[in-house]
Symmetry: C4
Subunit: 218 residues, 4 copies
C-alpha cells in the first residue's frame, strides 16, 4: 500500500529543500518589514520633513527589533536543521506552523510603528513572538521524541537539554505579552532582552575571546 501512493507523497523529505523554502520565506519576511515604515505625503518644508522623520523613530525601533527577531530565528532554524538527518511529514507541518507565525510578524510590527506605546500593538507583537517561539519549541520537541530524525551523534539527552533552553524564550515572551497590559515599555524591554540574551549566550567559535574551547566542526 505504501508503494501504491508513492507518486503522491512518500518517504522522508530531503531536509535541504525544506531549509531552502524556509530560508526564502524568512528572507522575504525580514525584507518586507521595512515596507511598513512610511512617511506621510504632502509635507512642504524641510522642518516638517525632519519632524516627520523624528516621528518615525518608534516605527524604526520596531523595525530593528523585528528584524533581529527574524534573524535570530533564521540562525536557530539553520542550526536546528543542521542537526537533523532528514525531515518527515510531521516536522514539515510543524515547520509550516513556524513559518505561519513568523510570516505574521510584519503586521504587528507595523501596528507598533503606527500606534507606538499603546497596549494593543505591543500585546499583539509579543503574542506573535510567543507563538513563533512556541512553534519552534514544538519542532525541537517533536524531533527529540523521534530519534530517527536526529543525527546519530546527538543523544536524546542533549536534545532534551536544548529543549529546556528553548523554553526560556517563550516564557519571556509570555511575560512580555502580559507586561503590555501593565506597563507597555516593559514589554519592549523584555523583547530587547531576549535578543541580547541570545547574542550573549552565543559562543564565538574561533579565537580565545570566549574561552569555551574549540567546538567540533560540523
Amino acid at each position: 500500500m505504501s508503494r501504491k501512493r508513492s507518486l503522491f507523497r512518500t518517504g522522508p523529505l530531503d531536509s535541504s529543500r525544506v531549509e531552502a523554502f524556509s530560508d526564502g520565506v524568512l528572507a522575504v519576511v525580514i525584507t518586507l518589514l521595512v515596507l511598513e515604515v512610511k512617511l506621510p505625503t504632502g509635507l512642504r518644508s524641510e522642518a516638517e520633513l525632519w519632524q516627520a522623520i523624528e516621528g518615525l523613530l518608534p516605527a524604526l525601533a520596531a523595525w530593528v527589533v523585528s528584524f533581529m527577531f527574524v534573524l535570530t530565528f533564521w540562525v536557530s532554524h539553520h542550526y536546528f536543521f543542521s542537526s537533523l538527518k532528514h525531515v518527515d511529514r510531521g516536522l514539515l507541518w510543524l515547520n509550516g506552523l513556524f513559518l505561519l507565525t513568523v510570516a505574521l510578524i510584519p503586521f504587528p510590527t507595523a501596528l507598533v510603528g503606527q500606534y507606538p506605546g499603546m497596549t494593543p500593538p505591543l500585546a499583539f507583537l509579543s503574542a506573535v513572538m510567543l507563538l513563533t517561539s512556541l512553534s519552534f519549541l514544538c519542532m525541537r520537541f517533536y524531533a527529540s521524541f523521534n530519534g530517527q530524525l536526529l543525527k546519530d551523534r546527538l543523544s536524546k539527552a542533549q536534545a532534551k537539554e536544548a529543549i529546556l533552553q528553548s523554553m526560556i524564550a517563550p516564557a519571556l515572551y509570555a511575560i512580555a505579552t502580559a507586561m503590555a497590559f501593565a506597563w507597555p515599555p516593559g514589554s519592549i524591554l523584555i523583547q530587547v532582552g531576549v535578543l541580547l540574551l541570545f547574542f550573549l549566550r552565543s559562543p564565538s567559535n574561533h579565537g580565545p575571546k570566549t574561552g569555551l574551547g574549540k567546538e567540533t566542526p560540523r
Copy 2:
C-alpha cells in the same frame, strides 16, 4: 536543425532549477499574503484599536486559509517534482501556468478580508483555488502520458492512481465556488475541509502512530 538552435533552447531542463524558481515564487506568495492585513490609521483610543483588531479577524482567517493552501501546494509540488527524471518544455509551461494561478491568490485573499461573508470575494477565491488545483492536475496528467519524464521506478498505473486522487481537490473547489453563491459560509467550510483532508491523508513516515508501515526511503 535541432543542433542549429541549440544555443537558444535545447534538450530537457534540469528539474532542480525549475523547482528552485517555483520555490522562490511560492515563498514570496506565501509571505506577501500578510501585506493585505492592514489596520486603518487615525484610531485614537485603545478601545478603538482593540475593536479594529477584532474587525480584522476575517482578514486573519482568510490569511491562514490561503497560507495553508499555498503551503499544501508547495508540499505537493515538491513530491511531484521529486518523482520526475527531468522536465521538458511542455511541463515547464504547465508549471508556469500553475505559478500564474498561485501568484494570483493574494488578491482574492485580500478581497475576502476586505469584504467578509460576501459572495464575490469568496467565489473569486474558490475559483482561483480551483484553477490552481486544475493546473496542478494538468501537470500530473501531462507527466503520466509522457513516460520519459517519470522516474523508472514509478509505473504509469501509479501515476494514474495519483491523478485520480488529484481530482478530488478541483472537484471540491468547484463546489466551493458554486456554494459561494448559495451559502457563503459553506464555501469557507469546504476550503478548510480540503486542507484537513490533505493533512489527515498524509501518512506520517516514522513511528507507529499511523500504522501504515514503513515507506521506502526516496
Copy 3:
C-alpha cells in the same frame, strides 16, 4: 598586480551564483506584479463588488501579459546561462542591466491597469519590454564575441544565429511602443503576439507532436 587585489574581486564568477540571484529577482518580480491589482475600499452591495471586479479586467489582463513576459525571460535566461562555461565581470554588469529593466516591469504594468487603453501607460510598458529584450540581446552579443565564455560545443556561428533570432523581440517591442501612439490596442496585440511567437517556436522535447526530431540532451 592581479594577485594583489585578489581578495577584492577576482577571476571568473561561478555562473550558478549569478543564476541563483537572477532567479531570486525574477521570482520576486513575477510575484509582486499581483500587488498592483487592487479593489477600491468602501463598496457596499454585492452588485458594486461585481462591477468593481469587472472593472479590474484590464488590470488582470496586464498582469497576465507581464507575468508571461517575465516567465518567458526566465526561460530564456536559464537556457542562455546553461550555454555558458562561466561568467565574467562584463556579463555580470550586463546581467545587472537586464535585472534593472525587468525589475521596473511592475510599475508600467500597474499603470496599464490604472489607466487602461490610454497611450502613456502602454507606451511605457512597451518601452520597458523593449529595454529588457535589448539588454538580453546585449548579453548574447557580448558572450558571442567572447569565445571563452561559451561552452566549447557551441560554435560562434550558432551564437550568431541565436543573436539574429533574439533581435526579433526588440524589433517587435519597438513597433509596439510606436503603436501605442497610433492605435493603443495594436500595442497590446503585438505584446501578446511576441509571447505566442515564443510559445509556438518552442520545440517540445519529447514525443512525436512537433516532429522536430530528438534534440540532444544537454
Copy 4:
C-alpha cells in the same frame, strides 16, 4: 561543555547557507525598490498622465541609483564570501548588521522620490549608504583579524590591502551625507560617483581590453 550544547548552536557555519540567505534578502530588497515608484490615481487626460510620468523622473533616478547600489554590494558580498573558508558566529552577526542596513535602503529611496532635491531625504539616503558600507568594512576587518576564516591562499597583507580600498566608499558616503546639508545636488553626484568608481576599477577578466593581464581563476 561544548559538546553539551551542540544541538543548539555549534561549530563553523557552512558559508553557502549564509550566502544563500543574504542573496535572498538582497534579491528582495533590489526588487522591492520599484514598489515605491507610484503614479497618483484620478488623472484624466493623457496630457496629465505624461506630466505625472515626467514628475516621477526624480523617483526613477533614485530607484536606479539605489538599484545599482544594492547590485554593487551583491557583487562585493559574493567576492568577499568566496574568499572565506567558513563563517563563524561573529561574522554571522556582522553579516546580519549588513543586511539590516541594506534592507533599510527602500525607505530613504522612497523619500528621495517623494521629496526630491530636499536635504532630509538625501541626508538619510547617504547616511544609510554610509552605514551599509561601514558594516561591510567591519566584516572585512573582522575576517582579516581572524586568520582561520580566510582561505589559505590569501595572505593577511592582501586582506589589509582590501580593507584600505574598502574604506574609500564609507569616506565618500560620509562626505555625501554632509553635502546634503550644504548643497543637495552634490550629494547625488557623489553617490553616482562611488558607483562609477566601482565600475571603472573593476578589471575585465577576459580579453585584451583592460590590459591588466590574466587573473588566476578562482
